[in-house]
């Protein structure tokens, strides 16, 4: 950003000015959503049926979790253990707050005017929302019935848990492809790459629109051939609307400390603008819309 003596601050677009603003930390709690307090067997039954979900937080956000202004709901619990996770407090389901699908759908209904005005909708994020597939299915069904645009933000690792009926209720999936080389993927996440690739192909075949996200971490995911592998894969999918290259940031670091968890990327710097551009160009070379 710069200013001349006679002009406005010139805003440079593309690269977030505040680190991680498009690869962001989860919201601040479930204020405004009534929690439940059931005994254990009853709770388990409701969780299985999808009547009850474990939520980390909600937020009304614009431009980051799909189009327009969206109610983004962060679900608690994730099977991956990404080294760079910026929301480690969403990793465990037990840290969430129990909220019923009906209660959440009431909130969705309340924001229909906001969604209409902004071209927004509902985004289920996490954590990994597909850890709670029955709850996700139920909420997506309810939102779709209201005519609300729906988005799922997922790593795809648990894609097998998404039924075709669930895919029918999805307008957009934000698919995190965290690396293109299987070994690198495992080093980053502690899990296998294959389920994600499989889920992406299924979404493509099913005609569900996707935004592909790739988190660029220096010395971890930035190798040229790792990026090439992701880009090659993405170029085989037919429903990808855009690719977002998200520069790594350190905004999640304090949370790791607070949770008493060991954080391995303490010395890692955010990628340089040149590196970000190199990676974006690798995707652009395949004719993809890249941000």
């Amino acid at each position: 950003m710069s200013t001349g003596t006679d002009g406005a601050p010139v805003v440079e677009l593309g690269t977030p000015l505040v680190g991680g603003s498009t690869h962001r930390t989860a919201g601040q709690g479930t204020q405004g959503l009534a929690g439940t307090d059931l005994d254990r067997p009853e709770r388990l039954a409701q969780v299985r049926s999808g009547e009850l979900g474990s939520l980390h937080s909600w937020e009304l956000v614009t431009a980051v979790d799909g189009p327009g202004t969206r109610l983004t709901v962060f679900l608690a619990g994730c099977p991956l253990r990404c080294l760079y996770c910026h929301n480690p407090d969403t990793l465990e389901m037990r840290r969430g707050t129990d909220v019923t699908a009906d209660e959440l759908l009431k909130k969705v209904a309340r924001y229909r005017g906001v969604f209409r005005a902004t071209g927004g909708g509902l985004t289920l994020s996490g954590g990994e929302p597909l850890m709670q597939p029955a709850f996700v299915a139920r909420v997506l069904r309810g939102a779709t019935e209201m005519g609300v645009h729906t988005t799922l933000d997922t790593s795809g690792f648990l894609g097998a848990a998404a039924t075709d009926a669930m895919l029918d209720d999805l307008d957009l999936v934000l698919l995190d492809v965290k690396s293109g080389i299987p070994d690198t993927y495992t080093r980053v996440t502690g899990r296998e790459l294959a389920p994600t690739l499989e889920f992406g192909r299924r979404l493509s075949d099913h005609g569900v629109a996707m935004w592909i996200r790739f988190v660029l971490v220096p010395d971890l995911t930035d190798a040229r051939d790792n990026v090439e592998a992701v880009a090659d894969y993405v170029s085989t999918l037919s429903t990808v609307a855009r690719v977002e290259v998200l520069p790594f940031h350190q905004m999640g670091r304090d949370k790791w400390d607070e949770l008493g968890m060991r954080y391995e990327l303490g010395d890692t710097r955010p990628p340089t603008p040149e590196l970000v551009e190199r990676v974006r160009d690798q995707f652009r070379a395949r004719g993809l819309e890249v941000h």
Binding site: M1, A8, G14, L17, A63, V114, H291
Partner: protein, 755 residues
């Protein structure tokens, strides 16, 4: 007694040639003229012209010879011998060859004039601070021979007002400076010419000549005489620049020039806190369309004229004290220019000149003045909404108010005075009331009227909370309610005294000459600290709050255990408490006697006094620390609105406008990337956010699109950001002119990194 018929003198065939006639040709009715003659513009910004060479030369001269010097020494110059008046100074120019619209407050750009009718002490302090010698003759006049507004007010102030003032539960009252917030209908000068206005005012004056004497009869006669004298001075002002303002304007350029002379006359004779200019674009556009059709005007020249006017509005200066600058963050004068919205008939009041006004921010770069205020409605033409959003993103220099709420209450020819105060132009004025500290009132309720900072008993007859048990919501609310009764009664008593004195000793003759004779007056009361009260009451209701007492038993802090909902996150539990506080204050104000039968109103707006109010106020159950700034206006507490900007807009939108007809202010800062990846996406999303907020009851939105890093860099390298504009609370300021404390306050506010 309302006779505003235009005598025959106004019928100037050439001036009105081609206009559709109607009631406006028979009596003074600018709105009717606009409605019958304006052309809505539904297209986009592609027709606009850039700055002409003349515009750029003038701006460069101004920057090099005047603004750069002023930045160095705060005050460029002051005339210490000539008390200000409409015709007190000879003509002056920025650059005699290039001034497209002429007229300066004094004979030199940025040179300030003394306006001692408000009070001599303020003038003397300001002169000393500017390094100027006091002219003993002028001082003698205003201390021995001529009583001032300030002196009259203090002659009448009661003991309880003095106590409330000194303990800062009521501060910032317009008792030592001009009250402002009166918008003359400056368009009348252009449409009718001054001769017709004088004749109409004389006719009004004599319309009651046969009635028996009463004090209101005498005041009516005297005020009209003052108005006529002021209009004659306005005519002389025009003559000094070689114009005959006696007749109506005949061209677009004249319409702008005549209107500006009307405004100039008011800023030459009054230094009111807010000197807003009204709603001009559609009016000017009628003339522009006529001249464009006749081939006597081009788009370049039309833009040049609007640029020239805006340039003049950027160099209005008043002689202010350093203290005043600290309260108001620099040197604002709120030349608020209201635009857009809809007419009663459903046509948008968006014209090509609405675009030209926004274009000035590109042609001249961003600046705090004029305070461009868009009456927003989701149904405004898409091309205009997108242009507004684009300019907001580039400059952070625009504010938005809900057209629907304003139009439903005040009609389609209303304009904003200052930040959020709506009034029907030429038919309504406000008695500006600053604000009371609603947050400190809560602490007084707990402490039985003792001040939590000094320990002094300020409000006798109230029992505080006893013991050290957790506070009980119902008990605290009852005490707060009783305390608010005392505070509002004391406050309105002060306002009545102030406005009685102001009418008597610092009457705004030019501005009132450009009003109807029979007008609505509102008493614009206000509150500060709403979010703190809401959060603190929520803490008392939903968590456990224990008082912490000093050795004298004074509650000086609180220990809060447990979670509680906070205002600003679209949580009804907290938001309804905020709405209840606003309604409760308003109910109390409604039942108090008002000077001159004013209609009581309320605003939730702090300007930037949120910093000084915070300094004078103790710690709260919400966790708000003693001596720290309040959130501005109706904003949620800084950093507590954690569920996104739209959620905070929805919370603020729950405050009922009917309880705060003088406006509810929300200031938001979004980082650019928080609005989208590309400029187009950012524009679309900002439009969507404004549509969503206004659609859900939001009254006002100040939009900053800035990153924290930019502001931090501007603090460290102010020389690189001379024009960095930041919207603070219903108006904009030059960020680098803020005090360090205010800069840090802006930095500490919530930045929505995701909108």
């Amino acid at each position: 007694m309302t006779i505003t018929e235009i005598p025959a003198v106004a019928t100037d065939e050439t001036a009105w040639d081609g206009f559709t006639t109607g009631p406006w040709t028979e009596s003074i009715d600018v709105r009717d003229f606009i409605q019958r003659n304006y052309t809505p513009y539904l297209g986009d910004a592609s027709f606009l012209a850039g700055a002409t060479a003349k515009t750029l030369r003038t701006w460069e001269t101004l920057e090099r010879d005047y603004l750069a010097v002023e930045r160095e020494r705060r005050v460029y110059d002051v005339d210490t011998h000539t008390p200000a008046d409409v015709d007190a100074f000879p003509a002056g120019y920025i650059s005699a060859d290039d001034d497209v619209v002429v007229g300066l407050q004094t004979d030199t750009p940025l040179k300030r004039a003394m306006m001692p009718n408000g009070g001599w002490r303020m003038v003397e302090t300001a002169l000393k601070e500017a390094g100027k010698e006091i002219d003993p003759e002028v001082k003698r006049i205003f201390t021995q021979y001529r009583k001032t507004h300030n002196e009259a007010v203090f002659d009448m102030y009661t003991p309880r007002i003095r106590a409330a003032r000194s303990s800062h539960i009521i501060t910032g009252l317009p008792d030592a400076y001009g009250r402002g917030r009166i918008i003359g209908d400056y368009r009348r000068v252009a449409l009718y010419g001054v001769d017709a206005l004088i004749a109409a005012k004389n006719a009004d004056k004599d319309s009651i000549a046969d009635q028996p004497f009463s004090e209101s009869w005498a005041r009516y006669r005297e005020e009209h005489a003052e108005q006529v004298k002021a209009l004659k001075k306005l005519k002389r002002l025009g003559e000094s620049y070689g114009f005959d303002l006696g007749r109506p304007a005949r061209t677009f350029q004249e319409a702008v020039q005549w209107t500006y002379f009307g405004y100039l006359a008011s800023v030459k004779s009054q230094d009111g806190a807010a000197m807003s200019i009204g709603r001009l674009s559609a009016f000017f556009d009628v003339y522009a369309e006529r001249d464009l059709a006749a081939g006597t005007l081009t788009e370049e020249l039309a833009q040049e004229v609007i640029d020239a006017l805006v340039l003049k509005l950027r160099i209005v200066r008043f002689l202010r004290t350093v203290d005043y600058d600290q309260i108001f963050s620099g040197d604002p004068y709120w030349a608020t220019w209201s635009d857009a919205g809809f007419g009663e008939d459903g046509r948008p009041l968006v014209t090509k000149t609405s675009f030209r006004l926004l274009q000035t921010l590109r042609n001249l770069g961003p600046a705090p003045e004029p305070n461009i205020t868009i009456f927003w409605d989701p149904k405004l033409p898409a091309g205009y909404k997108e242009f507004c959003a684009a300019i907001s993103i580039e400059t952070s220099a625009i504010q938005y108010e809900s057209d629907q709420q304003i139009r439903c209450h005040w009609g389609d020819d209303a304009a904003i005075a200052c930040c959020v105060s709506p009034m029907t132009v030429g038919k309504q004025m406000q008695f500006f009331g600053a604000r009371v500290n609603a947050a400190k009132s809560l602490l007084y309720a707990v402490n039985g009227g003792r001040d939590e900072m000094s320990g002094k008993l300020i409000v006798p007859g109230h029992e505080g909370v006893q013991g050290n048990e957790a506070l009980d919501f119902d008990e605290v609310w009852a005490k707060y309610d009783a305390m608010l009764s005392w505070v509002t009664a004391t406050y309105v008593e002060a306002l009545n005294i102030i406005h009685y004195s102001h009418d008597k000793y610092a009457y705004e003759a030019v501005e009132m000459a450009l009003h109807d004779d029979d007008i609505v007056r509102t008493m614009g009361c206000g509150i500060a600290g709403l979010s703190i009260v809401a959060d603190s009451l929520s803490a008392i209701k939903y968590a456990k709050v224990y008082p912490v007492r000093d050795e004298t038993g004074l509650v000086v802090d609180y220990i809060t255990e447990g979670d509680f909902p906070v205002y600003g996150n679209d949580d009804d539990r907290a938001d309804e408490i905020a709405a209840l506080v606003v309604r409760t204050v308003m109910d109390k104000i409604r039942h108090l006697p008002m000077y001159r039968d004013a209609v009581p109103t309320q605003s939730v707006l702090t300007i930037t006094s949120n910093v000084v109010y915070g300094k004078a106020t103790g710690a709260f159950p919400s966790g708000h620390k003693a001596g720290t700034p309040f959130a501005p206006g109706a904003n949620p507490e800084n950093g507590m609105d954690t569920h996104g900007m739209v959620a905070s807009m929805l919370s603020v939108g729950k405050l009922d406008y009917d309880d705060a007809l003088d406006g509810i202010s929300l200031t938001n800062t979004i980082t650019p990337s928080g609005l989208g990846r590309t400029k187009d996406e950012q524009v679309t999303n900002l439009v969507g956010i404004l549509d969503a907020g206004m659609g859900e009851g939001l009254y006002h939105a100040n939009i900053n699109v800035l990153s924290r890093e930019t502001l931090q860099d501007a603090i460290d390298h102010p020389e690189q950001y001379p024009n960095l504009t930041v919207r603070v609370s219903g108006y904009a300021v030059n960020f680098v002119k803020l005090t360090k404390e205010q800069q840090l306050d802006v930095l500490s506010r919530t930045f929505h990194e995701t909108a």
